[in-house]
């Protein structure tokens, strides 16, 4: 298959023959094996599979948190495999948002400070930051919790703050690794509804790594991974 430069630039994500091989003592573990994947802007995609199927590794490759052993990853038209650590950090700051299973809010910052953190790193002024965070807190029903520290919030509230942090800088792509795994059904539904709304209204591309059926049900595209390779790719 011949891929044109234009196709790479148009895609939100393009993975070309990506391999990730870990060495554990004398043994080689092929976590990702020759994956080919293209995700268009605005997609709401879930990558599903059992533990060890390589979905988190693939998500980390797309997020530039780890480098492929071979192959290429294109995000927002840029080849991550040729970028320096500094350039990758810049790309993560400007084009990517992350949501993790363990919420991962900075414990020393308040909810609002956590949410505005990417804007702070981008050098946006205080007025802009506060307005943007206020808008998102209102939209997601978190008004009144701005000054609470993460330890004073429920799991669902923490994860919603983490989602706000992921989208606050208006990234092209949000990568969510098992975002509902620690939440009960109600909190999971609320969170997914919020993400769907942001995807619909802001046009942000969402890619999930999950084995939660609720996420798979809501995804408009479901990519199944088995043993590090794509087993199926289903558009809904």
């Amino acid at each position: 298959m011949t891929v044109t430069t234009n196709e790479r630039e148009m895609a939100a994500v393009r993975v070309e023959d990506a391999w990730k091989i870990f060495r554990q003592e004398a043994e080689e573990v092929q976590a990702v094996r020759g994956v080919e994947l293209q995700i268009a802007p605005g997609e709401f995609t879930a990558m599903a599979g059992p533990s060890g199927s390589g979905k988190t590794t693939l998500l980390n490759l797309i997020g530039g948190l780890t480098r492929p052993t071979r192959g290429h990853i294109w995000v927002a038209g840029r080849d991550l495999t040729t970028m320096s650590n500094r350039e990758l950090a810049r790309l993560r700051l400007e084009e990517l948002g992350f949501v993790f299973q363990a919420y991962n809010l900075l414990p020393v910052l308040t909810a609002a400070e956590n949410a505005e953190f990417p804007l702070l790193l981008q050098g946006r002024n205080g007025g802009d930051r506060r307005a943007r965070v206020h808008e998102l807190f209102t939209r997601t029903g978190l008004t009144g919790l701005e000054d609470r520290r993460p330890g004073e919030l429920s799991g669902g509230q923490q994860q919603r703050v983490a989602v706000i942090r992921a989208v606050v800088g208006e990234p092209a792509l949000v990568l969510a690794d098992e975002p509902t795994a620690n939440l009960d059904s109600a909190a999971s539904d609320q969170l997914l509804a919020m993400m769907e709304e942001l995807n619909r209204e802001l046009g942000t591309t969402f890619v999930f790594a999950t084995h939660d059926p609720r996420v798979m049900e809501r995804a408009r595209r479901l990519v199944r991974l088995v043993d590090g390779a794509i087993a199926s790719d289903e558009q809904r």
């Binding site: 810049r90 993560r92 700051l93 020393v108 098992e178």
Partner: protein
Amino acid sequence: MARSTTLIRLASRNLRRYLRRTALTASAMIVGGALMIFSLSLGDGGHEDWIESGARMGSGHLSVQAPGFKTSRKIEDRLSAAARAGAERALQHPSVARHVVTVVPQLAIGGLASSPTGARPAQIVGVDPIAEAAFSMLDDKLVEGRYLEPGDRLAAYVGAGMMEALDLRLGSRLVLTAQDADGEISGQLVRVVGVFRSGVPEIDQTLVHIPLTTGGTWLHAGADVTTIAILLDRSRAVPAVQRALERELTDQIAAGELMVLSWRESSPELNAAVRIDDMGNYIWQGIMFGIIALGIVNTVLMSVMYRKREFGLLQALGFTPRQTGGLVITEGLALTAVSGFIGIALGLFLTWLFFRNGLDFSFTWDENFTFSGVVVDPIIVPLFSVRRVMQSLVFILLIGTLASLYPAWRAMRIDVAEAMKFER
């Protein structure tokens, strides 16, 4: 700017979050900083005391001499009348005069002191009795008789050691012999009017003060002197005043008529003693701060290991590895800066506490203890110095930075994907 503020905000909040760990490390820095300032102030106070004692026993903080006099101690190497006049003019210059406490002329030569019982080598110094009494500590060390007075002619003020060696009594006659200005060996009879005991054996056994006019007449030197001894308000002013004097006397120095010597050059033994003592102090402090630095390394490194996920998250959000390291260094620096400030303040308080009456070490040595030709006072008054405060602050911040480098390097090398793994 926003990123620097973010780093500082994160660093300070992290330090407050792990308060017990922060407090433990900070307390070590506080004690270290306080001890450093206090021991430096005490050391400086002690040195100032030694130097002043040495200056008053000898040729001042600074002295103006003919170039060959330091080694020859002969009258032929005396200052000419023109050189002396030039030096006295230079001493009036404002940059010099504001530090000068007193100036004394001295006619100092090596010679022999004899009595009917025997003879001993002597350091004979012709002095102006009034000026010398204000300059020297020797008049305070009187044990019998009196110090020289204006109008004295054939009087001598003699060390107790020489009195014993030559079996002299108050009022005894003593013959001083030395080479005069004409190159002839010449003798002078004097009578002992006073006896001193400085506590320094080499001074007590050799030094004899006689009136300057007596010396000038006896040695055919007229009003010439060998040394103009200058006492300053503090020893720290010596380098600046020496430079100013040398600037004012450039032509005469170039012509080989005179030279300006500091106490370091006049009393090399005392200079070496001060430097050795300073070095000992620095080594002790280096060891102490080395131990404290290891404590900081341990604290910051533990914090980095404990917060791997947090550093991974920061990098996932857009921190570069360098910024991650910067955060660790900022935390280390903030910790050392705050605790260093408190430590220095505590050290200054201790210094102030002992500033009035000094610290009494008489349980360790008595008031006759001598060291490198000076009597060491058992009461040491610490000396406050802005320079020492700045030095200590820079040193503490340097330690903080160095101690944070390795933990920062470890934080920079964190594997983000590994750090963000969810652990069940």
